[in-house]
């Protein structure tokens, strides 16, 4: 009974987050547009300082919009996690789709990506793509300024789990922060690096909803590695053997 109450409370909280995320955008839209109008109407009369103030409003609105977008994605991840349709997914497929989404940024950073053999796991494909999108975005944001970005993705296998490793050669982080970076709105950098501090929290939420685990290893200036495990096809029957055959670890 207590459990049922908790489930209901959680569900209500999720619904509230979802609705709020949509409704929060409304006033922001108004603030943005009417600041623009104010600027246009008062154009010549505005002092240098007033234009600067308008710039701050604009910056804050944009930042708030990003925050809301990420909160929305996070609550969506929780929501979908509850109703997800798990099936056999060759990890390469959501990875490729995520790389496709980030193609332009990866190209302009001249990033190198090396992909080893990847297994077939029991997962929801779009959610897994979201994990890769967040990891790619993370690697691009925290690239080392003095070297070409290199991202490597490979897998290892244990009896029950398939483990995916996602490593970059970016600026990394102090090992003591390896847990904190998965917290909601937790960031290790200030305004110089854009971001809301939700990307890795979303990854963790998704992987855990799949019954897996995610952790990070890093060293300052030496890059970061994200390691997550997902259930392999294990007992799901010989029907998947033909797909699974491609998925041996590299």
């Amino acid at each position: 009974m207590a459990n049922a109450n908790l489930l209901r409370a959680n569900r209500e909280l999720e619904e509230l987050t979802y609705v709020a995320s949509h409704d929060f955008r409304e006033p922001l839209r108004m603030i943005n547009i009417y600041t623009e109008l104010l600027m246009q109407e008062c154009g010549q009369k505005l002092s240098q300082e007033a234009s600067e103030f308008a710039g701050y409003i604009h910056y804050s609105v944009e930042r708030m919009e990003h925050l809301i977008q990420d909160v929305l994605q996070y609550s969506q991840a929780i929501h979908d996690g509850r109703q997800q349709q798990l099936g056999p997914v060759p990890v390469r497929r959501p990875l490729d789709s995520a790389i496709g989404i980030f193609r332009a940024s990866l190209d302009s950073a001249a990033a190198e990506i090396e992909i080893g053999d990847l297994p077939v796991v029991h997962a929801e494909e779009s959610q897994l793509s979201l994990v890769f999108q967040n990891l790619l975005s993370n690697s691009l944001k925290y690239a080392h300024p003095e070297r070409t970005s290199r991202i490597r993705i490979w897998s290892t296998e244990s009896p029950d789990f398939q483990t995916i490793h996602f490593a970059d050669n970016g600026i990394g982080f102090e090992p003591e922060f390896s847990e904190r970076i998965f917290g909601l709105f937790k960031r290790l950098h200030g305004r110089e690096v854009p971001g809301t501090g939700l990307g890795l929290a979303i990854c963790r939420r998704i992987i855990e909803a799949h019954g897996g685990q995610i952790r990070a290893e890093g060293e300052s200036q030496q890059g970061a590695t994200f390691i997550f495990s997902l259930k392999g096809l294990g007992d799901h029957g010989p029907g998947y053997a033909d797909i699974a055959g491609r998925g041996q670890s590299g």
């Binding site: 949509h22 955008r25 409304e26 108004m30 943005n32 547009i33 623009e36 109008l37 609105v61």
Partner: protein, 158 residues
């Protein structure tokens, strides 16, 4: 045309009412009369009393989805149920929701266009261009062969 084009705007946010007016006055370039309903029920009543009265009927509707009292989708359904020619009037759904379920519901309800309220001024004012184009295509249909499919297709993706 005997009288000015009549537009009903169902919108509860005064900020958006102002923006829609500005978008229309900037881009529509057709003499028009705009009637504003601040909630779904007010819109409903205006439609009901105008149905079958050619002088009072509306040629085009701009409907927000998230309206007080009655949601925009009910207003849309009411328009499509009209006995007179208003049942075939152009309807734009204008909303801040970008969600697929809302888009689908608007399409199923018979909306001609789904305009997602942008958060910058210039993009918002483009609403006037959309209204102008939909209106011109509809006017063209009355005199020549229809080109409706092209506009319909583009409309729902925006």
């Amino acid at each position: 045309m005997a009288r000015a084009m009549r537009i009903l705007l169902a919108e509860d946010n005064p900020g958006d009412v102002f923006l829609v007016k500005r978008a229309l006055s900037r881009h529509l370039a057709v003499e028009h009369e705009l009637v504003v309903a601040n909630d779904g029920d007010a819109a409903w009543k205006l439609i009901e009393s105008a149905d079958g009265t050619p002088a009072a009927s509306f040629d085009l509707f701009i409907i927000d989805l998230n309206l007080p009292v009655r949601p925009g989708l009910e207003v849309l359904a009411r328009i499509r149920r009209c006995r007179g020619k208003m049942s075939r009037a152009i309807v734009l759904v204008v909303t801040s929701s970008s969600s697929m379920p809302d888009r689908d519901a608007a399409r199923r309800g018979g909306a001609d266009y789904y305009f997602c309220k942008p958060s910058d001024l210039a993009s918002f004012l483009n609403l006037g261009i959309v209204v102008r184009d939909l209106w011109n295509v509809r006017a063209g249909e009355k005199t020549s062969k229809p080109q409706r499919r092209a506009v319909r297709g583009r409309g729902m993706t925006s």
